[in-house]
Symmetry: C2
DNA sequence: TGCATTCATGTAGGCAACCTACATGCTCGG
DNA sequence: CCGAGCATGTAGGTTGCCTACATGAATGCA
């Protein structure tokens, strides 16, 4: 653990980032998958880092590896260094005028559907390119995606920031009402708006437990003191809409991203808090990049336009 | 100036440092000399940096180069990044227990003579190695040496920090009286201490103009209103002492670093400020390194011991 | 208690990056 | 007008990083 061979002038950001990734993902293989490299490459990098620094950075730990205290220290320092690098780069980009580079976005399908077409339009003729991933997951899992993507478009019904997003930069893009979706010939369709006691005794099509939308039927149950019967639990909004149209029950859909099909109608739900916050999440060091900030700013603008559009109607 | 080819994940510290060096040294050839590389290597690095960033960083400027605004921006950012890297490294070193690496010291010969033997002794059995350079130069030139060395041991008669050392970390290591050196059989040798009017009319052996010690005869001239006659101007203290012993005149020597030869004696000079501050200078980013701080701390300790030793006698 | 899965790590070879040596061309000063 | 000093280009060697593949260890399930 001695015999350090002519250490390079600097601690290498490459190594720091690797350590941070290991700290976050717990296993070399996971880091390798996330960074599109082989575990072998990472293992070799670790060894050269250890050789350069003269310290052990990882230890075997059952099936995987564990950071040594020294490794952990560097992993923590990584944020500081990488943020500083990104800050300088951002200043350069700002001076050069045009932010550049690839911004990776992970998004809910429903929110992405209304936000991203506009975004791509706005990014046309800029040096920013976008890579996309989409997923529909439990509220608490959105934060984990901020490891992979520069910006995660998530939603929260519990407040302004999704659970688990502590330590992330979170920006509210819009507040979107969640409406009740009914067959057009449903008895309740005659009412302009619906109260909890109107809907509690009908057959529901819900979402899996832990999914944000589930907060609404839960609130209805608490308010009325009666159980909501969820006949089905689905993730995909369009599938749900189709089933509602087929008379399988009533459901909930976000207002902006739903253009009701002929057989169904949307009705506002009043008397419980029935809205979601659409929130962009970023890890602080990723948010230092000007391109990332720029995209986030655009998303804020698009969200504001969206709310205006619907407020006007 | 477009067509950026898959920029690496990070701004490279290597490039930032290069730009900072160019900002400081004004010419590629000078940087090449200072970093022991060829100008060609630097030129190529610049081109790759420009390719990666998609910005021109330098422009031809008469015989040399000049940083573009973008280059200047990055050169300024370099301090931030490199300091941050060094800070993390310092934390690692502190945790590992032992600071490591090479610390380059540039020093005055006289101060080095009394400080460095002790320093090397203290660094025995540590992982710190020292490289040395020595020079005897004008007070205002010491700061420039902080570009090359991690620690510059300099001195100032004008105050606590040498002129030109703004922006550098400066640490006072010791205050050393400057005594008058006389032939042992000189008439003034009978006095325990000497006043300006005692010495002004004798033949002096001085230092080149601008050198710190010259401040003392200048003060004597101002105080007495009479000119000091400098028969010779020398840099080397031992040479001066030998010539004083040979009766060529009287001179000034720092007390700690002079062990008077048989034929000469030292006498304190009172009535003017006759002392120098021995000061360690470091560029802030270099000072972030734990090894550099450790060596500086040792120097402070050695300086304190030195003053105690002389106060006791 | 096997047996497949999931890790980490080692080796060999390709590919790109960096540097030196050398040559060329430009700019200034005598 | 010529030489000194500087930047830049090219060719070639060396090093470093990564993939592909093989090995070995630990885990969890039948």
């Amino acid at each position: 653990m001695n015999a350090h061979a002519s250490a390079p002038r600097f601690l290498e950001p490459r190594h720091l980032e690797l350590l941070r990734e290991i700290a976050a993902r717990r296993t070399l293989a996971a880091v390798a998958r996330a960074t599109h490299r082989t575990p072998s490459a990472l293992s070799q990098q670790l060894r050269t880092a250890e050789r350069e620094l003269g310290v052990k950075l990882v230890e075997p730990d059952s099936r995987g590896v564990r950071l040594t205290p020294a490794g952990q220290l560097l992993a923590e320092g990584a944020d500081e260094v990488i943020s500083s690098l990104a800050r300088v780069q951002a200043r350069l980009d700002a001076a050069t005028g045009a932010p550049r580079g690839q911004v990776s976005i992970g998004t809910l399908p429903s929110a992405g559907q209304v936000l991203l077409p506009q975004l791509l339009h706005r990014l046309r003729d800029t040096a920013i390119t976008v890579s996309l991933d989409d997923f529909d997951i439990a509220e608490a899992d959105f934060a984990a995606r901020a490891l992979d993507a520069d910006i995660v478009i998530s939603h929260s019904l519990s407040g302004e920031v999704p659970r688990g997003a502590e330590g992330l930069i979170s920006t509210v893009l819009a507040r979107e009402p969640i409406d009740v979706v009914l067959p057009a010939d449903h008895r309740l369709a005659a009412q302009a708006q619906l109260r909890p006691q109107d809907v509690v005794d009908h057959e529901w099509i819900g979402v899996p437990e832990g999914y944000p939308f589930d907060a609404i039927p839960v609130a209805v149950e608490q308010l009325t003191g009666r159980p909501v019967h969820r006949a089905l639990r689905l993730r995909d909004n369009h599938l749900l809409e189709a089933l509602v149209g087929a008379g399988a029950g009533i459901g909930l859909l976000p207002r902006f991203s739903t253009r009701p099909a002929p057989g169904v109608v949307l009705r506002p739900l009043v008397g419980v808090s029935a809205a979601r916050a659409i929130v962009a999440l970023s890890r602080p060091d990723r948010y230092e990049r000007l391109a990332v900030r720029t995209v986030t700013d655009h998303l804020v603008g698009i969200g504001a336009e969206l709310m205006e559009t619907y407020a006007a109607t």
